[in-house]
Structure formats: C-alpha cells, structure tokens
C-alpha cells in the first residue's frame, strides 16, 4: 500500500472546508472538489481567513500560511482526484447523491485509494455498497467546526478491511485529530446521543416545563456543560436540526429522534437560530457558526 500524501475532499461546504483546513494544516496535499466554483472560492477564502486569525493569535507561524495555502487547491473537475490516496466525502446527506459520487470516483481513482465518508447519519455499509470498493471504504465523521474540534468518529462498514481501517485511523492521527472507534449505526455515537437530547430539551419548552434560558442555565450549573442544549441548537440551526432528525428518525424510528413540531414552527417563522438573529434566544451578532 502506498503512503497517503494527497487527500481529496469532496464537497466545499462548511464541513468540507473545515476538513480541508485540517488536512492542509497537517501537511497533506489537499484537493477540494465542488460542483460550484463559487463554493470553492468561498472555502478558500474561509481557509485563508481562518489561518490568518491563527497567525494573529500565535497559534500558527506566519511562514506556514503560504505553505499551507500552497498545498490547498480547488477543482470543479472530479477527474483531478485521480492522484488522491484518500478521498473524504462531505456532501449532502443523501444516499443516492453519495452513491453517484463514489461511483464516479471509483472509475477515476487508483485501486489503492481509500474512500471515506463524513456522513453523520447514513450507514457506512450502505454507502460502501454502492462504491465498487466496499473493502476500502470507511466512516470518518468529523465534528463541526472541523478545524477546531479534534474528535473523529471512525466506523468500519461490514466489508471494510482491517488494513483500510488501520490506515484511515493512522491518517486521522497524522492530522492531529483524536479518533474513536464506533459501530456503523445511525448517528454513530455523537449524533445518536445529541439529536434526541436536543429534542428532549425542545419538548421541555413545548410542554411548558421551563423557559429556554432556565433549561440552559440548569444544564450548565447542574451538569457543568459549557453550553446549554438550546444555545447549542441556536448555533446548529433549526433547519439543520430538522434535517438531522429526519435522517436519523427515518432509519431508526426512535421516537426521541423525531423532529418536534416546535422546530418546524420556528423554521416557518424564520427563527433558525444565531444565523438569523433569533432562535430560542435573541442575538445581535448573527455571524454564521464556524465562519
């Protein structure tokens, strides 16, 4: 097996852009694909902006910035992934979309290339089933924002070979991340617990058990959490929470994962959270999370 030097990131959204920062910062040649040149440009701008702030805060040597940006390249042509040793997919949470992408990549990339998915809710085994190389497929779920959060949930599918899993794990460590092994189940560990927990907090508001501010205060003062569940939901966004609920509930039928009606009402009202200035709380600073 060849050494992993070049990593392709498929999808230049918030998650993909963050993973690309992690890869480039760790010294890997990093290639970012998106169908939209605008998305590529935005991801590059976000990367440069993030790294400049890192320099200003003394977390990155100034001379490293051009080196990292030199390792970062964007493309709208999937064929440019032909020399990638690892491809991490971070596109929309849709099984057909992911199957289509990996089907194309399977024809472009060498046999030795490992495919990974950053999915948070879809089965790794199911995605791998449509990629043509299920033994060289693995789940690598980064946390948002990837450039700041160290955790990566590593999940083998049913057909993932030990060698593939170990190589992906080693890359994860080389990226400076902290991998944990989880089974291939919807939500893995983090979202399996987080989505229902957040829904439970929403239902406490729906049922009039307490106001949002009191729920957040209680969790912080009583459990020592850094952030209350409704503050976290305001950062994540009601629209994202709804998508996560639908993805997880659709697979598990877990009642606690079902999207609470209040979320749908808040979306209809434009109360998406911090990004629109109002969610469970009101915000003057509506800067996007992770931006």
């Amino acid at each position: 097996m060849s050494e992993i030097k070049t990593i392709g990131i498929a999808g230049a959204g918030t998650m993909g852009a963050g993973i690309a920062i992690v890869c480039a910062r760790a010294g890997f040649r990093t290639r970012v694909f998106d169908v939209s040149q605008q998305s590529i440009d935005r991801a590059r701008g976000q990367t440069e902006g993030f790294l400049r702030k890192s320099v200003e805060r003394g977390k990155l040597a100034a001379e490293k910035l051009p080196e990292i940006m030199g390792a970062w390249s964007g493309t709208t042509d999937l064929a440019d992934f032909a020399d990638c040793d690892l491809v991490i997919e971070a596109v929309y949470e849709s099984l057909p979309v992911k199957h289509d992408l990996f089907g194309k990549l399977n024809a472009i990339c060498p046999e030795t290339t490992i495919f990974a998915s950053n999915t948070s809710t879809i089965s790794i085994t199911e995605i791998a089933g449509g990629c043509g190389r299920p033994d060289r497929f693995v789940g690598m779920h980064f946390c948002l924002p990837a450039q700041l959060m160290k955790l990566v949930e590593m999940s083998p599918g049913l057909s993932t070979s030990d060698d593939t899993f170990q190589r992906a794990w080693a890359v994860c460590e080389a990226l400076g991340q902290k991998p944990v092994r989880t089974q291939d189940t919807p939500g893995f560990v983090l979202n399996y617990f987080l989505i229902p927990f957040n829904n439970d907090a929403i239902r406490l508001v729906e049922q009039g058990v307490a106001e949002a501010a009191d729920i957040d205060l209680a969790i912080k003062a009583g459990m020592g959490y850094a952030m209350g569940p409704l503050e976290l939901l305001d950062l994540v966004g009601m629209d994202t929470q709804k998508l996560l609920c639908e993805a997880m509930h659709g697979v598990t039928n877990e009642p606690r994962a079902a999207c609470p009606p209040l979320v749908k009402k808040m979306i209809a009202a434009g109360w998406l959270g911090k990004k629109t200035g109002r969610g469970f709380h009101r915000y003057q600073d509506s800067k996007m999370f992770g931006a």
Partner: protein, 218 residues
C-alpha cells in the same frame, strides 16, 4: 435581600452540610423555608403562611402540588418548591431548581430567587413536573448510554471520550454513573418512568443489576 427563616425537618439533600444559605437564615425572616425529607409535613403543620414574602418547600422526587394541592390548573400562591440538584452520591451542585405552579405569584418567585442567589446559588425556574429540568433531560441520555454500551456501539472509554471531545461535556456518561452511583440512577429513573410512563426513563439493564446488587448488600 429578602430575609428568611428555616425550619429543618430530617435530612436535607440540598443542604447536607454547612452552607451560606443556611447560615444566612434569621429567626425573624419574612420568608419561610422548609428543608429536609420532612419539609412537606412541616409546611402542612405550620398553618397559615399567606403573609410570608415567600414559602419554599424542599422537594424530593414529588411534585409541589402534593403539598399545596391542585385545582383546575389555576393553583399557585406564595409557595414554591425547590431542590438543589445533585446526581446520586455526588455533592450538591450550585443549581437550585425552583418549582412554581401556574398561578404562583411573581413576587414570591423573585423573593425566593433572591434568597438563594444571595447565597451564591444559581436558580432555574421550572413548572411543577416530575423530574423538573435536569432529571427530565439527562435520565434518558444516561439510560441510552448504558443500553448502547450493552449493544457495543463503542467501548465505555470511547463513549465517554466521544461525548467529552465532541460536546465538551466535563465527564462522559459511563464514568459519571460509576462515580455517582448506578443504583441511585436506577431509583430516580424508575420514579420518572412510573410518573411519565415513557420508555426512555425505564431503568437500563445495568442500572437494574446495580440496584439488585445494592439490595443484596454486595
């Protein structure tokens, strides 16, 4: 700050040791606080307290309405319930869950809040529901962690590590339960299951085992 007097009846889960809230009480305070596992009975025996700035009854698992009575969803007076949150065998936290009824006077809530906050405590107000805020939220999460450990979703270490690293929790669910008591978790979540009838509150197998061992004195 609103002054208050304390009537202590039995063991208090909220104030098992010396605390400024207890030390700051006076014998002629305008508020009345009943602490201990006999707080409800002491409140009932105290007679008319309608002129008090506030009356606070320490609660266990029960609702405030058990002591004050309920009527047509319009119950409420100058009486609030309270419990300082503590998880199992852990020391009490800084959090006081202050329980109100639908028509509890805002003045009583404000006075009780001021009294607790003057002693350095944090106050979250909630309605009169089983489990109040924290137990309602964390017991399903803790039961789910125990069940998923049985199902080998991840090792205990990786479950804890994932939730600490991914969500910034100070402690993962498995080590938290080991530290504060699985049998104690069983008792609280069983009471909630009885009150709410919802499956996520049913004690997980590992909690049942711990309770059975405790009952055998093991």
């Amino acid at each position: 700050m609103t002054t208050y007097r304390i009537t202590a009846s039995g063991d208090s889960r909220s104030f098992p040791a010396a605390h400024p809230f207890v030390e700051q009480a006076t014998t002629d305070g305008v508020g009345h606080v009943f602490t201990g596992d006999g707080a409800g009975a002491a409140f009932t025996a105290a007679g008319d307290l309608a002129s008090s700035a506030f009356v606070a009854i320490e609660l266990g698992q029960e609702c405030l309405g058990v002591h004050t009575g309920e009527s047509r969803g319009e119950e409420g007076s100058n009486v609030v319930g309270f419990a300082r949150f503590r998880l199992g065998r852990a020391d009490p936290s800084l959090l006081v869950e202050l329980v109100r009824q639908p028509a509890t006077s805002e003045a009583a809530i404000a006075a009780a809040r001021a009294a607790f906050e003057a002693a350095g405590l944090k106050v979250a107000v909630c309605g009169d529901f089983p489990g109040r805020i924290i137990d309602r939220l964390i017991r399903p999460y803790l039961n789910a962690a125990l069940r998923r450990l049985d199902e080998k979703l991840a090792s205990a270490e990786d479950l804890d590590k994932t939730l600490c690293l991914g969500l910034g929790y100070p402690e993962g669910p498995i080590s938290l339960l080991e530290r504060t008591g699985l049998a104690e978790h069983h008792d609280v979540t069983l009471a909630l299951y009885g009150a709410l009838g919802q499956e996520p509150y049913a004690p997980a197998r590992r909690a049942q085992v711990a309770k059975a061992r405790q009952a055998k004195g093991i």
